[in-house]
Amino acid sequence: MRLSFERAYPYVFGVAAGAAWMYYKVPFAADAKELLAAALSMASILTGFLATAKAILISVNDSSVIRDLQRSGHHSVLIGYLSESIIWLFAFSIWNLVGFFMVRGDFYCVAWVTLGTLSAFSFVRVVYALMLVLKHVAPSSPGNGAPVR
């Protein structure tokens, strides 16, 4: 996968999903409030999970894979993915909350689908990268660069 595509695909899929929803005039769920409540819960949980993921990333800061990513410039991009995902999931949570109070017309529905798809793919993107980092991180062994002061 190219970096430019990796950076763009959550937005591409989000906009595409919203455009498709609008084009095919798909009706919103019949029991919208249950859906909004469930989506709000899930987005909130995932946002909290990403905050934990940030702590995990900090804990492996001294690993060789993170040093390589810092050297290459990919590390700041990974941090950017984490931030974007938190922002879009939070925005999706707020949009679900708004849905309880406003009339859910076409605009609301298309925006809901766009935000939901964008949030989901941004989450998948960052979690996939983090899982790869965790698979890569190996425990340090004694005698191999023992700390010196």
């Binding site: 990796e6 590390h75 991009v77 002061r149």
Partner: protein, 290 residues
């Protein structure tokens, strides 16, 4: 305490490091904080002595797993810290403006030289400084006299992904996978003529390889972990083994007292840096530092 010597080379449009340090001295603690590669770094203490040396103490705030406390007879336990409090690791340095050399304390958990470079680069827009490792020229001179190479051994931890990959539009996920697929952490290569053989390795090949690897090592690249050659001045001379990384200028000072807080005081660390730098001053003046 291990201390290394570096030559500081400012980038093309960068002010002299002394000028940057002068400006830094006027800033408060909070103003000196920078985030470098995800780490919170700041200059904790900075001052210039009467003999023209800059003393700098850098700090890394350590938000990852920290130390605990224990006795010989009790289990380890953590520290009670406030929400915005954490452990801090110090790395001190002595910079001599006149020669452009800097003696730097090595602290495995503190501010490494690569991070220090990035911190100074980030401090002022457009500034760039290279910390070049230094070597004793004596080994270099002995190498220059060698005409017959019998063996060459080197070990490299290959950089699995680098800036070239970023420019080549390699995604983050693929960059991580490249590191995993690379396999061995260290690649060791040994070329030799073998016992009983009277031949020798190709002179140009060996010299070019050595030049490339020494350049990589001097660029503060931790990837070259061994570089050794067995060679002779002429075919009838005895063989000599030269460790081309060993003459990297470093001093271990082990007699530093530890206080009740289990830390070596800043004053003692500065004094150790001064001792080390004075020991190297003669080499610097005689041009024996490469």
């Amino acid at each position: 305490m291990r201390i290394h010597l570096y030559r500081i080379i400012p980038g093309r449009n960068s002010p002299p490091l002394g000028e940057l340090l002068m400006g830094m001295r006027g800033d408060g603690l909070a103003q000196r904080m920078r985030t470098v590669a995800g780490q919170d770094i700041r200059v904790e203490d900075i001052h210039r002595s009467r003999d023209g040396h800059w003393y700098v103490d850098l700090l890394r705030l350590r938000w990852d797993h920290g130390p605990g406390k224990a006795r010989r007879t009790t289990p380890v336990e953590g520290f009670e810290l406030d929400e915005d409090e954490t452990f801090a690791e110090e790395t001190s340095a002595l910079y001599d403006e006149a020669t452009g050399y800097m003696a730097v304390e090595y602290n495995h958990f503190g501010v490494r030289v690569g991070t220090m470079e990035s911190y100074f680069d980030a401090y002022r827009d457009g500034a760039s400084y290279t910390f070049e490792m230094t070597f004793d020229r004596d080994v270099q001179r002995r190498l220059e006299r060698k005409r017959v190479f019998r063996s060459l051994t080197f070990a490299v931890a290959p950089q699995k992904v680098g800036p070239d990959d970023f420019r080549a539009n390699v995604s983050v996920a693929e960059a991580i996978e490249m590191g995993r697929r690379a396999g061995a952490n260290v690649v060791t290569v040994s070329l030799s003529m073998g016992l009983g053989s009277r031949g020798h390795l190709d002179f140009n090949m060996v010299r070019n390889t050595i030049t490339t690897l020494i350049r990589a090592a001097r660029g503060n690249d931790e990837d070259v972990t061994k570089l050794e050659v067995r060679a002779k001045d002429n075919p009838d001379a005895p063989s000599e083994v030269l460790d081309l990384l060993e003459p990297r200028l470093a001093i271990d000072i082990d007699d530093l007292p530890v206080g009740r807080d289990r830390r070596v005081s800043r004053r003692n660390r500065y004094e150790a840096l001064l001792r080390a730098f004075r020991g190297w001053s003669g080499l610097i003046e005689r041009g024996r530092v490469a």
